[in-house]
């Protein structure tokens, strides 16, 4: 039984088919990676699944329910959570507050109680703060809790976004290049973190350029090129797939040419 089911998903931008007819499924606790050259439509696919863009075609089902074109905050309530490729941090908040803000669905309550700082409101805040501190420890940012979020390094902000996304206690987690900008040690930490989260039963959909990491932790890989799915399967099979090699080598060859010119 799959938790997240994608069927025939597609979107156009100004007449150009950015993503077309992409489909795959995600089982509980499974790690599925979406790979492909730059501009293949990976982030666009994420934006459609998470409700940021409205797909023109196709269907997204979460635990059997049709959630196509559902706004992100409704998807969040159903246990779908994500991070962003180009960071979307709450800049004017502290690191801790960013993580606390991820608990919105668990801590929200009556505005009246919040205005008058009633015991119920303080209790909700305290609970989410405790959980947020634990999550920050988990991603290795425990000691940076009181800093302004804007002062963190790029890699640290990536991990802060993961902590914020985990705060929702999601069933499905979409990670858009979580290891970008991280050094080897940090990448390995994120690697472990993802595996551990998956082991707790969370399904993870991953976009990542670090191929070693992708091959190591994915159960299943979906390959996109020019907005279409060109292959999918187990890591070992994908690594041998001629179409995938072509897409990548072709892209690399073009890149090399561009670099020369």
């Amino acid at each position: 039984m799959s938790l997240l089911q994608i069927e025939g998903l597609g979107i156009d931008f100004g007449g150009v088919r950015a993503v077309n007819d992409v489909g795959f499924a995600l089982k509980p606790g499974e790690i599925v990676s979406v790979i492909g050259p730059n501009g293949a439509g990976k982030t666009t696919l994420f934006n459609m699944i998470s409700g940021v863009y409205a797909p023109a075609r196709g269907r997204v089902a979460l635990d059997g329910e049709d959630v196509t074109r559902m706004p992100p905050h409704h998807l969040a309530r159903r246990g779908l959570s994500r991070t962003f490729q180009n960071l979307q941090i709450f800049q004017s908040m502290s690191v801790l507050e960013n993580a606390v803000a991820g608990h919105h669905l668990h801590e929200r309550g009556s505005v009246f109680a919040d205005l008058f700082s009633l015991p119920a409101a303080r209790r909700r805040s305290r609970a989410s703060e405790e959980s947020a501190r634990a999550l920050l420890d988990r991603v290795g940012l425990g000691r940076a809790a009181e800093q302004e979020a804007g002062s963190l390094s790029y890699g640290a902000l990536k991990r802060l976004e993961i902590a914020r996304a985990l705060a929702l206690k999601p069933r499905v987690l979409l990670l858009d290049e979580p290891a970008a900008g991280c050094n080897a040690v940090e990448t390995e930490e994120i690697d472990h973190l993802i595996a551990k989260v998956a082991a707790e039963g969370v399904s993870i959909l991953l976009v990542e350029h670090d191929m070693k990491m992708v091959m190591r932790i994915s159960n299943h890989i979906v390959v996109l090129d020019h907005g279409e799915k060109i292959a999918e399967g187990e890591p070992a099979a994908i690594a041998r797939d001629p179409r995938v090699i072509e897409a990548y080598l072709g892209a690399q060859a073009t890149e090399a040419q561009n670099a020369d010119g």
Binding site: F13, T43, N47, V52, Y53, F84, Q85, N86, Q88
Partner: protein, 290 residues
């Protein structure tokens, strides 16, 4: 029928002024993403400076020319002294800066000139022209012709000249424009000068009809802003259509419903349009990139 035509004619006259103010908003907005609330003060300056130059004995055309050039200079000064130093500030700060500039210009005008209401003679006399039972002042024709001429010149400028295309390129993507070698600071200076000159021209044209004093700018700025938003900010065609629509709407409301609520009608329609089309009539729809 003559009644309707009469309202239409007066609406188009007022609308032409709004359109000129809205065009001024549009030019600056395109070059800098700033909505310049001091735009109405340019109209006021155009009228005031012309009056005082004329009163000092200069012939009217020369007085008007001086007013337009002087106002363009003030526009450039506004850009250099207040807008450029505040590049990248949030929208609300920019609103306060340009409203501050508008209050400052008003205060300075009242010191340099006076607080009286002024008028100078119409260009082609005050004898109304009869059209199908309705009348129109010759000066109104000057106003309408002025608005159309400015719109046409702007269209030529933006589509047929290199510098005009540079302005459009800057509006589209400032950094890309810089990369291809466009001097974006020059583009901004030029835009403020043009916008101020167009405002002053509107002031010169309309003062014989509506009179002028140091405090007429704010109301014009609000109407021009509303017209520009109605049409869709940043679109010259939208500014022209928005201005004319607003003017006609006001005249019709004043004529058929209540003159006290003529300003209300304009804002009710703007609210209605924005609710249905959040980007205005001709605005581009934007997609957030994440």
């Amino acid at each position: 029928m003559p009644e309707l035509l009469q309202f239409l004619l007066s609406g188009i006259t007022v609308g032409a002024v709004y359109a000129l103010v809205a065009l001024g908003f549009t030019i600056i907005y395109n070059a800098s993403d700033v909505v310049n609330f001091a735009q109405g003060e340019f109209v006021m300056l155009g009228g005031m400076i012309t009056f005082f130059a004329h009163a000092a004995g200069l012939p009217l055309p020369l007085a008007a020319l001086i007013a337009i050039i002087a106002t363009a200079g003030i526009g450039v000064a506004l850009n250099k002294l207040a807008i450029e130093p505040a590049r990248g500030a949030p929208v609300v700060s920019l609103i306060i800066i340009t409203i501050g500039a508008s209050i400052f210009i008003r205060g300075a005008t009242q010191l340099v000139f006076d607080k009286q209401i002024h008028r100078f003679p119409a260009f082609s006399g005050d004898q109304p022209i009869l059209i199908g039972g309705a009348t129109i002042l010759p000066q109104s024709l000057w106003v309408i012709a002025g608005a159309l001429a400015v719109f046409f010149c702007l269209w030529l400028f933006f589509t047929r000249t290199l510098i005009g295309r540079a302005v459009l390129a800057t509006a589209n993507n400032r950094i890309a424009a810089q990369l291809v070698g466009i001097n974006t600071n020059y583009v901004m200076t030029l835009s403020f000068a043009m916008s101020a000159a167009i405002g002053a021209l509107a002031g010169v044209l309309v003062t014989p009809i509506t009179l002028t004093s140091y405090d007429v700018g704010l109301a014009l700025a609000l109407k021009g802003f509303a017209a520009a938003m109605l049409g869709g900010m940043g679109n010259p065609k939208g500014a022209l259509v928005g201005g004319l629509l607003l003017g006609i709407l006001e005249a019709m409301t004043a004529g058929y419903i209540s003159s006290q609520y003529k300003d209300a009608a304009a804002f009710v329609v703007i609210l209605a349009v924005l609710f249905a089309m959040p980007q205005g009539l001709f605005g581009r729809k934007s997609t957030d990139r994440v």
